[in-house]
């Protein structure tokens, strides 16, 4: 396995990569449980899910998807900038990733407040007056985008730490396994959204 980022003899680049991928598998299984619940309830209430999905803003969902995809791009560019020795560009691109992530969260905040304002939140009288399928749809919507949001926050904190380490030259062209692993995590967070988006916004 190519070890171009390997520096000191105490570091195992391939091992740290393997560990990160294994961690990503656990995250896939964590969300997988929720996707399983989604698939069960949607197969039981296809029409109600279809109807409830119309209540979500496809425009806002699409914007958020583009934002996250772009943030994955900036993250990948941050890594290749560092590999070419351009520390400043790398730090700026990591910052851009964080900014995009924050915009995503702001959009989500507006989305959620909109629904809550309409009276559509877990256990609300308005929601309980709707059909079972719609109640389950909104329950899944809040739990899955909520858990995803928590992971977005964690990712932003992680990238923030990587930014600081890159600035302090503790992450370098020769030794940037940490940054690559942080990138992998961010790409997974993006990928989970890529699955959430059609399942909640596009099934109208």
């Amino acid at each position: 396995m190519a070890d171009t980022v390997h520096s000191s003899s105490h570091k195992d680049y391939a091992g740290s990569k393997l560990g990160m991928w294994l961690f990503l598998f656990t995250e896939v299984l964590l969300f997988g449980g929720l996707f399983l619940v989604y698939s069960v309830y949607r197969s039981m209430h296809p029409q109600d899910f279809h109807k409830a999905a119309a209540g979500l803003s496809t425009a806002l969902g699409t914007i958020n998807t583009v934002i996250l995809l772009t943030s994955s791009l900036t993250m990948a560019l941050a890594i290749s900038a560092l590999q070419r020795g351009n520390t400043r560009a790398s730090v700026l691109l990591q910052a851009a990733t964080i900014v995009l992530g924050l915009v995503f969260l702001v959009n989500k905040y507006f989305e959620w407040s909109g629904h809550i304002h309409e009276g559509l939140y877990p256990n609300s009288p308005e929601l309980l007056s709707r059909s079972h399928g719609e109640i389950l749809f909104y329950g899944l919507y809040y739990v899955m985008t909520g858990l995803h949001g928590i992971h977005v926050v964690a990712g932003l904190v992680l990238i923030g730490i990587m930014m600081a380490l890159t600035g302090k030259k503790r992450i370098t062209a020769e030794d940037h396994g940490k940054l690559e692993n942080a990138g992998l995590y961010w790409h997974l967070v993006d990928l989970i959204w890529i699955y959430l988006f059609p399942l909640f916004y596009l099934i109208t």
Binding site: L22, G33, N123, S131, Y142, V143
Partner: protein, 528 residues
């Protein structure tokens, strides 16, 4: 005194030198000492339960207390003792030594795993004393009761959630370590079989634990926000909880048994003075059990309303998953054939394991068959079965491995005479306590019941007496081991004449495990 990992100084002093250590040997001992306390606590709860059940009706406690007791007994024994179990305590200590490494791949993550474990345990224990009091749902937390009960379910399951993170990260660490840090010359098929079992277990910990994590988060979301996933009034399905719960909890029993089988496979060659029979069969059967173990969860739910087709498939898979375990039993027995048997305590406990695990395994097939399942589901038959496999199986193997590796970890020998007596008392007590439960269950005694019909009393009395004998054996064993740490005879590097790499370094090992990383040229059980 020679330098070893106990007296090697670091940047911390006193208790901090232990709870902030990233040395896998210290972390293993931290887990071991915590687990000992938790096991004895769980055992005490069991003794109290058996005392209550010595007569019908109220004996020493109210019904609510009894419900809390069996819930706690289950939660403590399963999540605080047996799931971390052999991997966290003995796997942490021995696996890097067995592969000729200086530590695991991620030592700081390893320490963090221990902290998640101890904080999770503390949170779970706190649930006893706050809010509505200890949970009374059983360790399975089935909905709808776990949503409606006023007892402290959320705190308890949050504690379990945290301990799940510990388990997942340990699996991640072990899988990576086994891939990356084997000594030069140690190919996959030259690894000790204990390491193979930890590898298979690591994959199960990695991929199954997140499912219980999300299930428990959903349970907390139900209790706090009334989401509705499991509430029929809102369109949810309580059976979905059962599916999600058992999709983890069945693989979890393989987390419990695979390392135990691995330890047994280590001990037999040493005490039969011959190589293991069927190395590859044992290695592959571990992987096979880990894989098939994901497919059988429905056998915990045969009476919950599944279709006949689904039940037949789960039943068939359940019978198939028993095959690799059977293969191991045959290989173990074949390994003893024409060997030169040394009847020391580790080997005696291994023989007890094979006997008790076989009973547990065969009765599992009685449960896995659809017709007989209807008779025994929810009865004492099930309670007997899982105690035979988890206690007679995993815990007995744990005791065997503890005695086997005791000299390596402590530098001293335990008292063999006392150990044999303890093992015998333990064995007699175990069977007296649990075998009557097969009969009770078959005759219709339901599980988790506080009260019962008078016709069941005689066997309940036998069982309770068995619990006292068992506890005596456990206490004797614990006393012997603890005392021998201080005053046992000094052990050399290799008192048993083992051939795996941990015996090629000092007892106890130095902080960096080996003065020089060994080069491996043969298989692990070279007794020629």
């Amino acid at each position: 005194m020679k330098t070893n990992f106990y007296n090697t100084g670091g940047k911390h002093k006193g208790i901090l030198a232990w709870v902030l250590s990233t040395d896998h040997k210290r972390i293993g001992l931290l887990y071991l000492s915590c687990m000992t306390v938790f096991f004895l606590t769980g055992m005490t709860l069991g003794l109290l339960m058996r005392l209550e059940l010595i007569a019908p009706g109220r004996t020493i406690m109210a019904a609510q207390t009894y419900n809390a007791l069996f819930t706690l007994h289950g939660v403590i024994m399963i999540f605080l003792f047996i799931i971390p179990g052999i991997p966290a305590a003995l796997g942490n200590f021995m696996m890097p030594l067995q592969i000729g490494a200086r530590d695991v791949s991620f030592p700081r993550l390893n320490l963090m795993s221990w902290w998640f474990y101890i904080i999770g345990a503390a949170v779970a224990i706190t649930s006893l004393f706050t809010g509505g009091g200890p949970p009374d749902t059983g360790w399975t937390f089935y909905v709808p009761y776990s949503i409606r009960t006023g007892t402290n379910v959320s705190l308890a399951v949050f504690g379990v959630f945290l301990m799940g993170i510990s388990s997942t990260l340990t699996g991640l660490n072990f899988v990576t370590t086994i891939h990356r840090l084997r000594a030069p010359g140690m190919t996959w098929f030259r690894m000790p079989l204990f390491v193979w079992s930890l590898y298979a277990t690591g994959w199960v910990q990695l991929l199954a634990t997140p499912v219980i994590a999300i299930t428990l988060l959903m349970l907390m979301a139900e209790r706090f926000f009334g989401i509705g996933f499991f509430d029929p009034a809102k369109g949810g399905d309580p059976i979905l909880f059962e599916h999600l719960f058992w999709i983890y909890s069945h693989p979890a029993v393989y987390i419990m048994i695979l390392p135990a089988m691995g330890a047994v496979t280590e001990i037999i060659p040493v005490f039969a003075r011959r190589t293991i029979f069927g190395y590859k069969a044992i290695a592959f059967s571990s992987l096979g059990i880990a894989l098939f173990g994901y497919l059988v969860w429905g056998h915990h739910m045969f009476t919950s309303g599944m279709s006949d087709e689904a039940r037949m498939i789960f039943s068939l898979l359940t019978f198939l998953v028993a095959v690799p375990s059977g293969i191991k039993v045959f290989n173990w027995v074949a390994s003893m054939y024409k060997g030169s048997i040394q009847l020391d305590t580790p080997f005696l406990l291994v023989m007890a394991f094979i006997f008790l695990f076989s009973i547990g395994g065969l009765t599992g097939l009685v449960q896995g068959a659809l017709a007989t399942n209807i008779q025994v589901h929810g009865t004492y038959f099930i309670v007997a079965h899982f105690h035979y496999v988890m206690f007679g199986g995993t815990a007995f193997a744990f005791f065997a491995a503890l005695h086997y590796w005791f000299p390596k970890m402590s530098g001293r020998m335990y008292n063999e005479g006392r150990a044999r007596i303890a093992a015998l008392v333990l064995f007699i007590g175990f069977n007296t306590l649990y075998f009557p439960m097969f009969v009770l269950g078959w005759k219709g005694m339901p599980r988790r019941y506080y009260d019962y019909l008078p016709q069941y009393q005689p066997l309940h009395i036998v069982s309770t007496i068995g619990s006292w004998v068992l506890a005596t054996g456990i206490l004797l064993m614990t006393y012997n081991l603890l005392r021998s740490i201080r005053s046992g005879q000094k052990a050399g590097d290799n008192p048993w004449g083992g051939t795996t790499l941990e015996w090629k370094t000092t007892s106890p090992p130095p902080a960096e495990n080996f003065e020089q990383i060994p080069e491996v040229t043969t298989g692990p059980y070279n007794y020629t």
